[in-house]
Symmetry: C2
Subunit: 315 residues, 2 copies
């Protein structure tokens, strides 16, 4: 396929390299001349503008930060093909009302950033959420994007933008806020700092992330983060009640047991591969069950899927 | 010294072995005959009762679970020497009103338990809180215990029982409850489980600990755990307010920056060694500053100490 990648940082650069390695004709563009030069020296096709990169493309992948998206969309006025993106929050991008859009979020990253850190193997085995809005997303466009990214080794997870934003609040954004709340207990508290060990180290690790990055993630996904944080606070208040019970040890056990069971079952083990109908509702049900698409069939009538072992129906 | 160790699990067994290796005459006892046999076959002096173990001892170290402590104390009716313990909560032990008591808590552990897992090097470099209650603890007894445990390589941290219980709630008990709250978000939520990655893994690791152990820790330290959990909930509610601000990203940054600074400064680097007066108030001030005792001088007038680097007065 002819693919354009706009934004050649870690994700965009890796995507350009991975798609090229998979045999596609890829043109890249980055607003930063130094980054364009870096990619050119690396032997890549680099265009001089967004419009030039998109000319002749069948799919344009936007790998730019959320605040930059509207400007790039405006530059794509003359392009009428499929558009996807890689931003980590999907509701606000959906709200932009981009034509022929399939929102995406590859859950891949590294400690480093920029084109120099790009790696064509970055997406191998990573979860790549592709948004599917019933009555809004064109299923054929969705399958085109799914075929492209599964071929890079990604586990394509179908979800609505709202489902995605809620899930990442649960597994990433709220965990960052909890880690920060624990780390803040150290302020003016050298005795606690001297006694902290393994549980403190792990529970606070991500609090060391740059404040601007955590704030951008959580603030950019404010609605879902607020909902999940409210649920977590409510849960913690139940622990407070249990700590005030006549026998706090007994009172605490049921919730802690549920937590332990859930944690020990995570990460879920992949079950058996299957062939399933490529309908929008079936795909969303697959994602809700914790499954993903591993390949799109030639006929596009079915997808090859993988569901977690715990979801398998045992006779 | 003549030392008796009551309870020969991981901590008691390791203590018996470490004290013997340090040249002390140690007698052990465990209520479980199989454990006594194991220690005997290991070449240790093992008594047939608590009273027999304590006969002739200058210090008795109780390494038994909190619920068992009152019974063991009753068996020590004929013993009038110094008593210390290793239980992980100090307020409830102090409330038992044990005569000539210096409460202790070595912050050491392993994944395994029982005498078979004992290791004489377990306390090397570990923080060992020794409780010092102004007007209650005999300073000479405290220094005797401090001399014994610093010689095993432990960092002896002076603190009151209340300070200890509050600090461990901050660095261990509440972190376990937060990890459990995050892990509980997975219940009925396979999509989130499929997307969880590094921040979720680390933030929930200790939720996989046995529910009974977490409940015993938190429930056994209910007052301090409740206080700290209340403070953490209040802090998280401020994050909720910030998420509702006109610019949530900007609103979130100050608290996240404070958390990040605190986390990056942890663990504190040890500063320069010093010689300090061995007074009760001086020792408690040392502990509150995040420092610890590394040795007790012959004259017992001073202790050798270490304070964290950030606490050092620079000229």
């Amino acid at each position: 396929m002819n693919v354009a990648v706009i934004g050649l940082g870690l994700i965009g650069g890796s995507l350009l390299q991975a798609l090229e390695a998979a045999g596609h004709a890829v043109t890249g563009y980055d607003a930063d001349p130094a980054t364009r030069e870096l990619a050119e020296k690396d032997g890549r096709n680099v265009a001089g503008s967004v419009a030039e990169a998109a000319a002749g493309a069948e799919i344009v992948a936007l790998a730019v930060p959320l605040p930059v998206l509207p400007g790039v969309i405006a530059e794509l006025a003359g392009y009428d093909g499929l558009i996807t993106d890689v931003t980590s929050v999907k509701g606000p991008v959906r709200a932009l009302g981009i034509r022929r859009f399939v929102g995406g979020h590859p859950m891949a990253g590294k400690e480093t950033s920029g084109y120099a850190a790009a790696d064509p193997a970055l997406f191998d085995g990573c979860a790549w959420v592709l948004c599917l809005e019933p009555g809004e997303t064109d299923l054929d466009d969705w399958l085109t994007a799914a075929a492209l990214f599964t071929a890079l080794g990604a586990r394509v997870v179908p979800a609505t933008a709202a489902e995605h934003d809620r899930a990442v609040a649960e597994i990433s954004h709220v965990p960052h806020l909890l880690a920060a709340a624990l780390a803040r207990r150290l302020v003016g508290n050298p005795l606690a700092a001297a006694l902290g060990a393994g549980s403190f180290r792990d529970g606070t690790r991500v609090a060391g992330t740059r404040a601007e990055l955590i704030a951008a993630m959580c603030g950019g996904n404010a609605t879902a983060t607020r909902e999940v944080l409210t649920a977590v606070i409510d849960d913690l208040r139940q622990r407070l009640d249990e700590l005030s019970a006549a026998d706090p040890v007994e009172a605490l056990i049921p919730a802690l047991r549920e937590a332990g069971d859930a944690r020990r079952a995570w990460p879920p083990k992949p079950g058996a591969a299957a062939e399933e109908p490529a309908g929008a509702e079936e795909l969303l049900a697959l994602g809700r069950a914790g499954g993903w698409v591993t390949a799109v069939s030639e006929s596009r009538v079915t997808v090859r899927t993988m569901r977690p072992e715990s979801d398998r129906i045992t006779p």
